[in-house]
Symmetry: D3
Subunit: 280 residues, 6 copies
């Protein structure tokens, strides 16, 4: 757990043996994203990808609210703004902006690429970068007090670190998706559930966390080879044709079916007992 310990605005703690609880931890600023939080987010999930103890992640936030989004007063944004204003050549400015945008995109994508199911447990405000972040998770649960806002158009920009790419692929009513992206309005929890942005809504923050952790524990009891493959193949298939998805799955499972987990799973099933799977 040592590399998690060095994170400043993210708190990562083990729940039981195989679930990692990752919490946004900058509550005094409503978990707004500054340079440090972007960096921590990336580093945390890059570490998860190599952490063979961890089979499932629960992502929540400390304090009053999930996240207020980008911290417009923080150094990171000042830096981005200064990149724009200090340079006289728009082409060179573009060159330097590219790196900044790509870095932030990579922090969000680290959640998707970490190869462990990530369950977001969202309470209070989930604004701007918070929507980018939550759509990169596998499962989205929230409490009744949660609300969502694709805030970017309000500050004169198109969302650029994942929302416009992932939101329409996790939600089944495109008219609604575009409406909330064009208006930046606050979407309450129940509406978010009705249109498919979240999978379940719970009455209180406690119930939310309890259920997210219960789900995580349930998944952690499954074969890590199986849940890893399921996430990996779902992501792959989202981005490819059915036939390409099938062909890639053949290549993947040619190795992954040669698992001792398959034998253990089948045996446990026949013996009506809970299977026990080794770490990755």
């Amino acid at each position: 757990m040592s590399s998690y310990a060095s994170l400043k605005h993210i708190k990562a703690s083990r729940i039981g043996s195989h679930v990692l609880h990752v919490q946004l931890n900058r509550p005094e600023r409503l978990n707004a994203f500054n340079s440090q939080l972007w960096q921590d987010l990336h580093d945390c999930f890059a570490t998860v990808a190599h952490d063979t103890e961890t089979r499932v992640v629960v992502l929540s936030a400390l304090g009053k609210t999930f996240t207020a989004g980008l911290d417009c007063e923080c150094a990171a944004v000042q830096e981005a703004v200064s990149v724009v204003s200090e340079r006289e050549d728009p082409a060179r400015t573009a060159y330097h902006l590219r790196k900044k945008i790509a870095d932030w995109q990579n922090a969000i994508s680290a959640v998707e690429k970490c190869d462990r199911p990530v369950i977001a447990a969202i309470h209070g405000a989930c604004i701007g970068a918070g929507v980018d972040l939550s759509t990169a998770c596998d499962v989205r649960y929230c409490s009744k007090d949660a609300f969502f806002s694709v805030k970017e158009v309000d500050i004169g920009m198109a969302a650029d670190v994942g929302t416009l790419q992932r939101l329409p692929k996790v939600v089944g009513n495109n008219s609604w998706v575009r409406e909330i992206c064009f208006t930046a309005r606050n979407v309450p929890a129940e509406e978010a559930h009705h249109y498919g942005l979240v999978g379940r809504v719970f009455g209180t923050r406690e119930e939310l966390l309890e259920n997210a952790i219960a789900l995580a524990n349930e998944i952690a009891g499954k074969s890590p080879i199986a849940t890893l493959g399921t996430k990996h193949l779902l992501n792959y298939s989202r981005d490819h044709t059915v036939d390409e998805g099938l062909a890639y799955t053949v290549a993947w499972n040619a190795a992954m079916l040669q698992s001792t987990d398959l034998k253990e799973g089948v045996m446990a099933g026949l013996q009506k007992r809970k299977p026990l799977f080794a770490n990755l």
Copy 2:
């Protein structure tokens, strides 16, 4: 507004300073699509793409109903039919049919490619080409009296100007999509909303228009650089993998973040006032 003035079966009028109200205007034939209407549709939205005053479009229809679809008695269809029957060589017929289909597809796609959010406000019947048209819009609102029909199989053909391509990408229940495409049955407003074809249903035609215009005005108050980018990137991302969508967004925003709107948006937020954005 001069180029809008030359349209015959489409009426385009300004609402407030930045919203264009586009109305199908062939009510005596239930706004059925003839050659002129296809041409007008294309020309209208090609003009929108260069009209820097217009930031949002509301698309509705004059008369009893949104549209009865293709006008089977009109010259356009006669021409298409005559293409088939006059020529003896099926290959040459195919060559000429190609151009006709492509022209009609381009008219519908002009709505998608005009780079301004388009809000469809649908009342009464929305049949055949009307479904093609509405799925090319960004947001779909309708009144309680509206109904939808993917009519094509009833006249012995597969829908070919956009419905089969876009409908499954705006709706989240594929079993239902296929059922209505295979049966051509009338889908009432509430069912259309339940399955995600429309974003909202209103009691009367008046409420429908009122709300569509209110939404348009709200969006028109946002940065035009931001709403343009949001539409452009949502369309791009629909058709690409998440990673391709992110990479393209980097290229796009490397220019578009260098906007004066970003400064205005941030300042207005800090000063708790409504931002004021220049035209494109």
Copy 3:
């Protein structure tokens, strides 16, 4: 019908003139998939693809339940397991596993590629391979007693014959999709309908079959050129960008609009009578 007659675990019978009723027919083993059933499934739908009498297929199951999924005690699985355990070289094992996985994928994909609408009528348990199979159908109806389970993680593997590829493309709530894939839990009929996995739920198995057959008959009365094209183009468009889908549709319809069905469809419409279409 001779080639259908040679199937052992599938029963195929004609309903009326143009509907084929395909039934999983291994009720004594809860229609679990063994080698023979995989082969029969492939052969049945490969035959459908050349059967110009058949315009629509209803797929249901005989006995207590739709299917219990893969038959873990059958020879097919023994064979797969033995491929793994008999060979000492994991690379050569992978080479032989590839063929087995691909064969099973092809059996499921034969449903999708048969070019006739397939309506699944599901009762009782629909587990594992049953979900793969049903998501490859065009329309999914079920009875109230039905439940669904993406069972694979329970036996230590990622689903590999279609569920992970097709399920997210037929359902509009991705958070829910991932939850049920990671947990393998039983999903009741109403939940399956709410999230879009099935199009309709019926009270009893009788009503289910009645309605599935009624839908099939309705579609069978449409032009076979039109329904064939609609399925083909919906499948194509799911896997391509909107622009690619449109371009392919031009090529397809350049031939298919030269159909005598188009004339018959238009004439019947004008004469307010039911059209009569020839076989393919």
Copy 4:
């Protein structure tokens, strides 16, 4: 021929019955591209696409040289530069630059999309936009005095109207492609032939034209359905996988094989006579 007659900087004349000779016709400025020439190029090939008399096009240039590329002193460039310098907002400048670049790209792509084989006959200098243009042609012949230069880096920009997209796909030595794109150096005819940029080199301008026209006439004697399809499918296949290319070809030829040309071609072959094909 009337629509060709209205072109100002392009001369289009019929050679024999089915070959159109298109000549860049601004020799006093070395056929440098100004606004008019861009527009004429687009209009000329858009007309070819509907001109059923024309089966093959020869593209050459009047005067001393093929083309000096973009006319940096002309209004078109002044306009582009003024777009940049007049506007203070780099984002809005980007928005307007987009349209200009896209227009020029479309002019070049019209050559590719016109569905008739285009044979470029190049003499003297072929610089900048001339390389974009020639790589959009099907066959490239040149005379010994020709030389080529991908000039753009010399004026501080990356080539953006087709060279970077098409050149690597027409030439088989990528190291060489990149070298000439990075250095902008003049490539003599023989080197261009050695590395695959041109198909043949002729001693004099007269031989060049003679051979280009002879090739055009030979192709014009083939079935127009066949040559149209060959160009269309080669372009399609360049941009798709082999399997996608094959699938599209099935759709295309399902119509195009029903041609009277097929019968005429086979009969002529058996009768050892030259076939005679109707226009499109």
Copy 5:
């Protein structure tokens, strides 16, 4: 070898222990393709795909010439023609033509998909379907007397079973590719080599076969896991971006590097001896 024995127009014989010599064997008709030969071609290479003895294939032809292409007088073509002329509905004709074209494409693609390197040894005429066939092989050698002709435009059609898809991807001068596809002219061996259609030219048919077999034997001495993977990944990478190719290679080699061949290969290298690899 039993399944090879049932082939009528193809002769398949073992050379040494791991090379299969496949010969077109209808010399009395210049190996022209009739229904039987199409079927045999498909069946032969489908068998190769499961034949773990065979590691490499040499494909040549008996008699005076490689192949005269499609046999216009044979039943297959008569059948195709009769499909067109017997049916009155161009749409239904298209439906049936689709199956015929797809069948022929699949016969050619079986060569590509058989997962063993295939070396074509071509002498005499290689016309029409012969070019489709040879471009689906991995390596193309020919004798000095060989010539090639993309014959299809001469009979009024675009090549539709592989040439237009594969030829531009095996040859590095696109101007030349298009010229020979548009003209159907005979291309002599040396020209074919110069432009990259063949890898080597030999003086006589004997030298040709000798060298093709020597190459086959050399490859047959390599690890079959390695050569299988090399062919599979080259085909995959041709059809994907570099990044997609790399990602698929990771999945593939995660299994295939766990080979006993890797140890044997490394050991043999260190011990300066020839490695000895087991069959697949």
Copy 6:
């Protein structure tokens, strides 16, 4: 230059003001790839991507030869082998092998993604990983004594860090590509040039370096915005359709044409002087 200084097996030194000379620096082991060299390669080019001084890179090697490829005796390979042999579960082994392969791929791809033209200057042996590396460079020059070998099949594996993906896209004779991949034979410099693997061959190692550096200096004098864009767009276009490449170029150049370099380039051209461009 500090981060370059920490590299152990790579030497990076500035030539003139804008060219970086990167040399493989493990001559005592013939520059064979061990863990350190893989890491250094990645780190070196990751640094180049942020080094605004550097406009062009020359990549060569110290000692007798370019590189002997993978160091089979080194820790990196031992580690890879031990991953395989230490673990009993082939699925978990696959999971760990994936990371290793991906790391090595990323080291090679860093060359491609560094956004500066890279000129490989190859002498002596260029084996295995050396071919992967050189095909990721933009321009390949070599001396007469150079030879190339796609060595992987000799040790029982398919090349997996770039050769199979990139080689066929830089070379225009696919028959030859496959022959050298299947046989692992040594390809002399002249043959490599003939088939397009290298752009030029020089008599001696001195001439080679002299010419590579001269080319680098020539490119370094161009606008860095232009050469960066040219490399970026060539890579993008290689992996996309022509139309996608054009669309991306519009987005890219909407920012990058707003460069002060454009003005400087045009002015210098008119004033017949050498332009002077600022760093990125």
